[in-house]
Amino acid sequence: MDPLDLVGAEPGPARTILFDGRPVPALPGRTLAAALWADGVLAWRTTRGGGRPRGAFCGIGQCFDCLATVNGRPNQRLCLLPAEHGDTVTTQEGHGRADLDV
C-alpha cells in the first residue's frame, strides 16, 4: 500500500522541479516539501549557527524549519508552496543572504 493507492489517486503527469540543480518529479497538488519527501530528500537548509541540516518539521507553516531558496528568493516555507513546473529550489545556507555579504 502507498498513500496514493489508499485514496485511489489519479494525479495528472508529474511536473519537474530542480533541487540543487537536479531534476525531481513533483506531482501536481503537492507542496515543494512533499515533492522532496517523496523523492527521499529530508533536508534543504543548514542552520545559521551550527550549519546543521534541517527540513520540514511541523508541515503546516508554523515552525519555519523548512525554509529554502525558491526561484532565487530565500526564506520560503516549502511546506506551504505548491510545486510548480520549473521551480528551482536551492539548499539555503544560514540566513540565505550570502549574496549580500561584503
Binding site: L4, V7, G12, P28, R30, R52, P82
Partner: protein, 472 residues
C-alpha cells in the same frame, strides 16, 4: 459560497455580520449555522482549502477518488462543504492569514471590527476584513518536549506527518516511530500504517492509568471510545506495538535520523537507567498533545483559563462569548477537545451571535466532550522529570539554536526565574516561530509554569512593506 477574488474591505463598504477566523470544524459549523440565520459571513482562513488541520485533504490535482480514507467523520465535512458552497451568504477568504484583530464597537455601525490579514502562501499581499462580530476558531498547535537529536531531518511532528499525508499523500519515511503523549499519536500512527508505512513502535509516555479514574466520563462518551478502538484495532492488525510509560530519549543519525533510543519512564517521567533500547527507523513523528492558539484574542486582553495540563485557553461563557464584547470563540481555541466538540461549539456560537437560544443537542455534546477533554488532558500531563533526558547540548529553541545548557546557565547563574527573562538572556523563543515550538519546554526549564502567553501585536510574520502601507 463565493470565493472572494476582489479585495474585501477595498472601500466597497460591505461590512460582514460575522467574520469567522479558521475554517476547521468549529469555523465551518459556525459559518454554516450563521448563514442559516441569514447572517453575511466572511470565513477567513490561512489555508488554501476548507477543513483546517482536522479535515485537511488532497488538492483536486491529485485526483483522490476516496479522500475520506484518511479521515474520521468525512461525511460530516462533505455535507458542510456542500451547504456552504450553496450559500450565497458565506464568502470563503482562502489563503488569508489573520495577523491582528482590531476591536470594533458592538452595535455601532460606524465602528466595525477589522481583521488584518496577509494573502497568499508567500504573504505577498494583504487584506482588511470589516465585520460587526468576530468568532475565533483558530484551533491549536502541537506541544513538543525536546530530546537529543530532535532537530535531525526526519524527525517531524505527529500532526505534521499527518498533515503532509492528508494533503500531499506522502510519507516522511518507510519506517516511522511515533512518540510522545496523547491520543493524536494513535490517530497519526493509524494513518501512517494505513498509508503503507511500517510503525515499529508507538512510544507513549503516560501509563494510561489516568483514564481509569474517569470511568463515568468514558462511559458518557461512547463515540470517543469507538474512535480509539478503531485506531487500536487497525494498529493491532498491523502488529504495531504500543509501549506505554516510555519515551524516545535520543534520536541518532548525522544527516538524518536512522534510529532512536527508547527508555522506560518512572512515574515522574524520569528515564529508568539501563532501560534504553535502540529501534531502527528512517523517520520519527513526535508530539505531546495540543495547545490552543489564542494569540489574536490574548492581544485584545481576553480572559483565559488554564487547563489540567497547564495549557492556556480562551475563557468563554455558555454561549461561547469571550470576555471581550463582540468577540466569540469556539473549538480548540477554548481548550483542546476534538472535532465533535468543535462542531458543537461552532453551532452554539452562531446561535448566540444571531441572538437565538442555545440548541439542546449541542449543549449536551459540549458538556460530555468537555468532561472527556479534561480527563484526557489530566491523563497526559507531562511528568515533572522529563527534563532529565535533555542534555546540556540539546537545542531547545530550534530557530535560534539555543541549547539547554544556556537556558540552565541563565537560570542557575544569572537568576532568571521565568521564560520571559530566559528569552531576553538567551534568545530562546525569539526566532521565526515565536516560541510556538519551544515555549512549553523553555517555560519548564526556566522553572516557571506556562503562565499567560506573551501577547504579541502580530500573530504571524508580516512583510514590513505591508505594515508600512497606509491603513485601509
Amino acid at each position: 459560497m463565493p470565493t472572494s477574488t476582489s479585495e474585501p474591505g477595498d472601500g466597497s463598504g460591505a461590512v460582514y455580520d460575522l467574520a469567522v477566523v479558521g475554517a476547521g470544524p468549529a469555523g465551518l459549523a459556525a459559518a454554516d449555522a450563521a448563514a442559516g440565520f441569514g447572517l453575511r459571513v466572511a470565513l477567513v482562513d490561512a489555508g488554501s482549502r476548507l477543513g483546517g488541520q482536522y479535515y485537511r485533504h488532497p488538492g483536486p490535482e491529485l485526483g483522490a477518488a476516496r479522500p475520506g480514507k484518511l479521515h474520521h467523520g468525512w461525511a460530516v465535512f462533505a455535507r458542510l462543504c456542500e451547504r456552504l458552497a450553496a450559500s450565497p451568504l458565506v464568502d470563503h477568504l482562502a489563503g488569508h492569514h489573520v495577523w491582528a484583530v482590531e476591536a470594533g464597537v458592538p452595535g455601532e455601525q460606524g465602528r466595525p471590527w477589522r481583521l488584518h490579514a496577509t494573502r497568499g502562501p508567500g504573504a505577498a499581499d494583504r487584506a482588511a476584513v470589516p465585520a460587526r462580530a468576530v468568532l475565533l476558531a483558530t484551533g491549536a498547535h502541537e506541544r513538543h518536549l525536546p530530546f537529543p537529536g530532535w532537530t535531525l531531518p526526519g524527525v517531524v511532528t505527529a500532526g505534521g506527518a499527518q498533515a503532509m499525508l492528508k494533503s500531499s499523500l506522502v510519507l516522511p519515511g518507510r519506517r516511522v516511530v511515533v512518540s510522545g503523549s496523547g491520543p493524536l499519536l494513535l490517530a497519526a500512527a493509524s494513518s501512517l500504517v494505513s498509508a503503507g508505512a511500517k510503525v515499529p513502535a508507538i512510544v507513549e509516555a503516560t501509563s494510561y492509568l489516568g483514564y481509569a479514574r474517569g470511568l463515568p466520563v468514558l462511559a458518557g462518551n461512547p463515540a470517543k471510545l469507538a474512535e480509539g478502538a478503531s485506531h487500536g484495532a487497525r494498529l493491532l492488525r498491523h502488529g504495531v506495538r504500543l509501549r506505554r510509560g516510555s519515551a524516545v530519549v535520543e534520536a541518532h543519525g548525522t544527516d538524518r535520523v536512522t534510529a532512536v533510543t527508547v527508555a522506560r519512564l518512572d512515574a515522574r517521567w524520569k528515564p529508568v537507567p539501563g532501560s534504553g533500547r535502540r529501534i531502527a527507523c528512517d523517520a520519527l513523528a513526535i508530539g505531546h498533545g495540543l495547545v490552543p492558539q489564542i494569540e489574536l484574542a490574548a492581544e485584545l486582553g481576553a480572559e483565559t483559563v488554564t487547563g489540567p495540563d497547564g495549557a492556556v485557553a480562551l475563557k468563554v461563557d455558555a454561549e461561547q462569548r469571550t470576555s471581550v464584547p463582540g468577540l466569540w470563540a469556539a473549538g480548540e481555541t477554548c481548550g483542546v477537545g476534538g472535532a465533535d466538540l468543535a462542531l458543537a461549539e461552532g453551532v452554539l456560537a452562531a446561535h448566540a451571535v444571531a441572538g437565538r437560544p442555545a440548541p439542546a443537542r449541542e449543549t449536551a455534546v459540549r458538556r460530555r466532550r468537555r468532561a472527556f477533554a479534561a480527563l484526557m488532558a489530566a491523563a497526559h500531563v507531562p511528568g515533572p522529570d522529563w527534563t532529565g533526558w535533555v542534555t546540556d547540548d540539546t537545542d531547545v529553541c530550534r530557530c535560534e539554536e539555543v541549547p539547554a545548557g544556556e537556558i540552565r546557565a541563565a537560570v542557575e547563574e544569572l537568576g532568571a526565574g521565568d521564560a520571559r527573562t530566559v528569552k531576553l538572556l538567551t534568545r530562546a523563543g525569539m526566532g521565526w516561530c515565536q516560541g510556538r515550538m519551544c515555549g512549553p519546554a523553555v517555560a519548564r526549564l526556566s522553572g516557571g509554569g506556562a503562565g499567560r502567553p506573551d501577547s504579541r501585536p502580530l500573530s504571524c510574520p508580516v512583510p514590513l512593506a505591508q505594515l508600512a502601507e497606509p491603513r485601509d
